[in-house]
């Protein structure tokens, strides 16, 4: 017992060391590209762009969620059910359009600016949310719906007390996918004058200045990783402990 524990902790230490070494190597490499130097000299500007980026992501995601989840619910109600596959296919086709193209198309109608960027991000973020809302609600065991109806729940009570809590895991997974992708897509907002960390990334690329580019790319990546972790936590807080899913899928996607 004690031996195996030592072995385990020994393993942990090894991985920690490997991680530290990797982080150090990456840091050294970034330093050689001028990343830290640039960051130190432009903290204020990076910070402003970072906040702008977060705004883009949050505003567009909130809109996507508040359109996507109700749409998913509607598509699983009575008469709409027959259009479910049809509309999911349509959304699936829309999703194959590259994000850059969505932004370009949005620009032709709305011109340039934040609005255009947010509009494109909303459209692009919708599908995973609608798809997972539909899939989640469709996955609820019909037996518990029958039990709920048989006990005298109104359709509304059935939705809020039985269907949504049981579909929550799949719906939240859709939201998580959408938001994490959104962080990356939001970088392209710069192209239509929407601002955000894309400013640093694209300018860095244009000027062949890796330090400049990394100053945008590293916070973007960090934001995506943080959001993924945080939304995983949210799932843990909101999903009933009575519902168990495989550990591996619950902790990371």
């Amino acid at each position: 017992m004690k031996g195996s524990l030592n072995k385990l902790s020994g393993g942990g230490q090894t991985w920690t060391l490997v991680g530290l070494a990797l982080a150090f190597a990456t840091g050294a490499w970034f330093e050689s590209l001028g990343f830290f130097e640039f960051t130190k000299n432009n903290t204020d500007e990076i910070w402003i762009l970072f906040i702008e980026h977060i705004h883009l992501v949050l505003i567009s995601s909130v809109i996507s969620i508040s359109i996507g989840v109700p749409t998913g619910i509607l598509l699983t109600r009575g008469f709409m059910r027959r259009y479910r596959n049809w509309s999911l296919n349509l959304l699936g086709i829309c999703q194959t359009v590259p994000s850059l193209a969505v932004i370009a198309i949005a620009m032709t109608y709305l011109g340039i600016g934040k609005k255009t960027a947010i509009f494109a991000l909303v459209i692009y973020g919708l599908l995973p949310i609608i798809r997972n809302s539909v899939a989640g609600l469709a996955s609820v065991d019909p037996v518990i719906l029958d039990a709920g109806r048989g006990m005298g729940m109104s359709p509304r009570q059935l939705l809020f007390r039985v269907e949504l809590p049981n579909a929550l895991y799949i719906i939240l997974a859709g939201i998580r996918t959408s938001m994490v992708i959104n962080v990356g897509t939001a970088a392209m907002s710069f192209l239509v004058g929407g601002g955000g960390l894309g400013d640093l990334i694209f300018s860095g690329i244009a000027m062949v200045d890796p330090g400049y580019m990394l100053a945008g790319a590293v916070p973007t990546a960090a934001l995506a990783i943080f959001l993924n972790w945080f939304l995983g936590k949210v799932e843990g807080w909101t999903i009933s402990p009575g519902l168990v899913y495989e550990q591996s899928t619950a902790s990371d996607i």
Partner: protein, 384 residues
């Protein structure tokens, strides 16, 4: 309590009625079992009672009120509903599951707390241990119990149960059925109970409604169906072994020969021997003077002996109670290879005797008023 008049259901897109012109009435406090092979319309019929399935024509009255005049959601909140797959909400604790309907009816928290504990105790689950468990932490039998408790949460006068013990292994099913009957004997609900298992129907039903392709074939007590099947279909359904099934329904006291021949342990052996020879008995039951069973003597043991019968009495290896059902008694006779079992009451008093002849008499086609030759020999009470 529940009256069905010419109830018919034709599903859209079909022209064969799933339920065809059914008339029946379930009395207050009775369990009415709907039985039939799958697709006979029994579940459809049950689900029409709480309007989960709309009626095509005909009417259903609960307590004299046409159910179409009651808001379906309101109606369902006042009818207990339990189904085979149980349908416990997986995201809710046992407490929340049972509290579902009380909450819909806006009971206050204290009243719900008390009721949940009461119900858990009733279905023999320890409240402190089970209140906060989730359905996934329950065994099949425990979940089934919670399902029944949830259906009874607001003490509804009418309950619909669709194979509520269907998904349970046979041994636990028996236990749950017995427990449920015990509860029912106290709460006296009016219950419509769907099953496809004729044993369960006979055991649970005060009345049985046998359905075939949507029609009510026979409606009556289990006795009536077993002894008086209306036609070949009913005969086939209750089975060729319906004589054996009656054993489930009958008690030892229905079949036993009362006041059987016996002597007292204080009787003199000599006179006992003479009496036995006269009656051609080779064994005899022995009571004490208070008529409590002491055991038996065999002719071989006491022949040519002197003393009291009590000195030669051997204890009875096995006795049954008059309230036990005949199936148990027969099973014991077969297991212990006994030709005869003796029924005694809780105080050990001799009540009667039972052998295969008396069994045949009550279940059987070989009906003989006197229980045959054996009956004549064994009858007669105190021998001396």
């Amino acid at each position: 309590m529940i009256r069905l008049e010419k109830v018919t259901k034709i599903y859209p897109g079909t022209n064969v009625p799933a339920v065809n012109d059914v008339d029946m009435e379930v009395q207050e406090g009775e369990i009415c079992v709907l039985i039939g092979s799958s697709g006979c319309g029994k579940t459809t019929l049950m689900r029409m009672i709480n309007r989960l399935i709309p009626i095509t024509s005909g009417s259903i009255y609960i307590d004299g009120k046409n159910i179409l005049d009651i808001d379906p959601i309101e109606l369902r909140r006042h009818i207990g509903y339990a189904i085979q797959q149980i349908g416990l909400f997986p995201h809710m604790t046992v407490y929340d599951n049972i509290a579902t309907v009380p909450r819909l009816l806006k009971w206050d928290k204290r009243r719900i707390d008390e009721r949940v504990d009461e119900l858990l105790t009733m279905v023999q689950l320890d409240p402190t241990q089970f209140r906060h468990r989730y359905p996934r932490e329950l065994s099949g039998g425990q979940a089934q119990r919670i399902g029944v408790a949830r259906a009874m949460a607001t003490d509804p006068p009418v309950m619909l149960m669709d194979e509520p013990f269907g998904a349970i292994d046979p041994i636990n099913r028996e236990v749950l059925q017995d427990e449920f009957l015990k509860i029912q004997s106290q709460v006296k609900k009016t219950i419509v109970f769907v099953t496809h298992d004729i044993h369960e129907a006979i055991k649970m039903g005060d009345k049985i409604a046998l359905l075939d392709v949507g029609r009510l074939v026979q409606f009556g007590t289990p006795e009536e169906l077993l002894t008086n099947p209306k036609n070949q279909f009913v005969k086939d359904f209750v089975g060729a072994d319906r004589a054996l099934k009656r054993l489930d329904l009958l008690k030892v006291k229905d079949a036993m020969l009362e006041n059987p021949v016996h002597c007292h342990d204080t009787d003199d052996v000599g006179s006992v021997v003479r009496a036995m020879q006269e009656k051609k008995l080779n064994f005899l039951l022995v009571n004490d003077p208070q008529d409590r069973l002491k055991g038996y003597v065999t002719l071989r043991d006491i022949y040519d002996q002197s003393g009291k019968a009590g000195d030669f009495t051997k204890p009875m290896t096995l006795t049954v109670r008059p309230q036990q059902n005949l199936k148990d008694a027969l099973s014991k006779m077969l297991t212990f290879d006994l030709g005869i079992v003796v029924a005694v009451d809780d105080d050990g008093k001799l009540m009667g005797v039972l052998n295969t002849t008396t069994l045949a008499r009550v279940v059987g086609e070989t009906y003989d008023e006197h229980g045959g030759r054996w009956g004549k020999i064994m009858a007669g009470g105190k021998i001396l």
